[in-house]
Subunit: 173 residues, 6 copies
């Protein structure tokens, strides 16, 4: 039995993430999806709560024949202890999948096997760009799975993101 761990913030979980999981699925029997910065929400960088992102992950991957553990992981603000924090909050795993250089470094220093994930079509399938499309009324729906569209709409996620991105001359009181 081989269990992988895919680490990301998933703001939101989009089709690029889905494709990564599809390619991982050939290598592993089970997959932990570790949802980083799980406590962050209601900001332009992190609009969705940890719970909303659990729903996205589960909904987006429900049709795959792969047992998935969607686990929220809060920040610890101490890079040197972050890996043992992740280990303590997730089922034990044999390999890490990530594309953030810091995440890769930290897991490698801790002795884990890390497999770089290849993200495709980054002009469209990248968190920052998808959030920008949400704010500016662009075409974000085709870039995430249909069930993820539902999760975001049930949470009034686009409204929320637009409102918190609102610049306001009165902002500093």
């Amino acid at each position: 039995m081989l269990r992988g761990c895919f680490v990301g913030r998933f703001q939101p979980f989009h089709l690029g993430h889905r494709r990564v999981v599809e390619s991982i699925a050939d290598d592993v029997d089970e997959l932990v999806v570790a949802i980083g910065s799980a406590g962050a929400s209601h900001s332009v960088h992190d609009p969705f709560t940890g719970g909303e992102r659990i729903e996205m992950v589960r909904a987006a991957l429900a049709d795959l024949d792969l047992p998935v553990y969607a686990v929220p992981v809060e920040d610890v603000d101490r890079h040197a202890v972050w890996v043992s924090h992740v280990e303590s909050m997730t089922p034990a795993f044999d390999a890490v999948y990530a594309n953030n250089p810091l995440v890769i470094r930290l897991f490698e220093e801790a002795g884990h096997e890390v497999r770089d994930v290849e993200m495709h079509d980054r002009d469209r399938l990248e968190g920052t760009r998808i959030r920008e499309a949400m704010i500016e009324g662009g075409d974000w729906r085709p870039r995430v799975s249909d069930p993820v569209v539902s999760v975001i709409e049930d949470a009034n996620g686009v409204d929320r993101l637009r409102q918190v991105s609102g610049t306001d001359a009165n902002d500093d009181g």
Copy 2:
């Protein structure tokens, strides 16, 4: 679609918890199992990590025809904000299942519907007693599901619990 939320520490997840879920299963379509004090581990009160308890919950309930979200929830040390913390870390839920008076009070003050759970056979099926049995070499295996026995043994859980419970005249330096 009705989603329930069952709140506990699950140190360990035992047959009493399993029976509660069986009875909840008639009422709900999906169930969040919120694993409280998820960051606590390696103590007599909380021997198992959040990740080990996720494995227990998933393994113990795998045969039920009920979608289960096993979500670790770290402590916040502020009772007055704890409910919104749980809400932000879990998929949205319609009813809470709990038997701890503080948990019940906090969810009720926040306007949630709370359904008391009935725990049976408390002489045998109670966390404190099962951990005592582990420490003293008693009969703990029949009180948890078989897959939970495996999770605990893979983590050398009984050894760990015995060692951290070790009193030692040298303890305070």
Copy 3:
């Protein structure tokens, strides 16, 4: 202009505290009432929130001809920095009034003038005893100011205290 600082947890603010303030009122022009452990609530030791205790302090002292600043002070869990924490959260003060030995020690080590407060009638006017009376249906109302009774009743404070004090054989899951 001389400003005093009276430090306590005020769970609840009772007639003993009121009498202390009456005696301080002769010495000072203004009084800071620093409400310690402001983030603690919903427990037998600390049933009321910081906000509820602000209301108690203000209501109980409204008839005095003394400007009062009721300031919630959250715990910092580091005794060695606690005094500078209090200083940063309150208007500057010239003398400290307290009866807890640790509080007195910490302010004295930091170079403050500390005046011991004399509490009277401790069989009746002591926080622990008043909370016990609330739990057991005893005679707590005559031990606090009338406006404090209103604050506690508006918050369903007695119900809350009784519920969180509820022992339950099912408590540990």
Copy 4:
């Protein structure tokens, strides 16, 4: 009895804030002034301590016939729990007054009535600009109430702000 809650950082509390309170005064019987980021101080963005800002609020509003609760509220770094944090630290309130989009969003998601406040004369009466005037030797005194000038000068606030804003080629060691 209707109680409002006016939320801001108040670095410093200036005439624009004063005018907002004057306009709120017609609607409410009592006003909580929730001083956000109360633990921040000694920076260009947040020069004054929570305690100094309590003094400013009280001094600036002393002549109004409106009971005011000036309450410091420390940051929690979790937007999703921030509203319940504010609720627990303040007397209960019926309506929120704010002009920061994030604050408005968070209170609205939590079910509060939020009334947008109109800030006037933003070229002069805006926190950032007033702090810039302090640093650069500009004309900041006429933009705050006279008693607030005293609070700032008693704390050597302008010196402090200038010093912490000091860029220094040796800054990084």
Copy 5:
């Protein structure tokens, strides 16, 4: 070059600790003394600050021909990440010396070599007993090195310990 790490709270650093270091000195070239719960102070369990304990360690071991790193380590309240916290705050070490069962377990689970330390004469040389002797006016001086007596007396440590241990009928307000 072999570096050891001796872990304890050292409240205070006494002759039992000194003897342990003497015996370790044969095995190692350098020694890290990791001062646990470094942020705790001003309590009966932890009277001395981290800084005072650094002074004790350095003073007590100055005559040994062994390079010593006295490093304060603050608590993290998460057993599962504590070892990587210690590792990040100390020079790298090859072996751990400890006698607390939890400390031993945590380092062993993290893959460290742990050598149990033998503490002698525990009736006299044990932290709790020495602190009791300080409180009750007993004979504590002969149980610590002479330079440690000086550190404690310079800090008015015995006064502090007695005062914070003071029970007071007025303690709870």
Copy 6:
């Protein structure tokens, strides 16, 4: 006996710091080197752990005839309590040596004597520039003491810094 305290982040401890210590050495009998932001590591701004920086400080100053206490000090994120935090974690000191304006201000407000340190040759001997040289393959070795080169190389510090500085189009998932 006069003890100084030299405060910095020391990312890394370079020849500019060494020269400052040489000049301080004439004034003091002992020196505390307070290593700020000790918990930060694995970032471009703070690549080295607190423990690695202890090793640098000790190695770089070993040949001086000056007793040095290298003490890691974690951040507290509250400027107003930071000085008492430093005081509690270090041996007592008589004078502070620093060149960061905020550090100087905070110690002065707390009543400490602060002596400005003069840093020389800032084009070469400045933390930011040395870290840039590490990232870009520049000439960093001659800017730190030889024993510090060894500490950095033993920790694979340059590799780490380059990797965490890696920008990556896939960075945001």
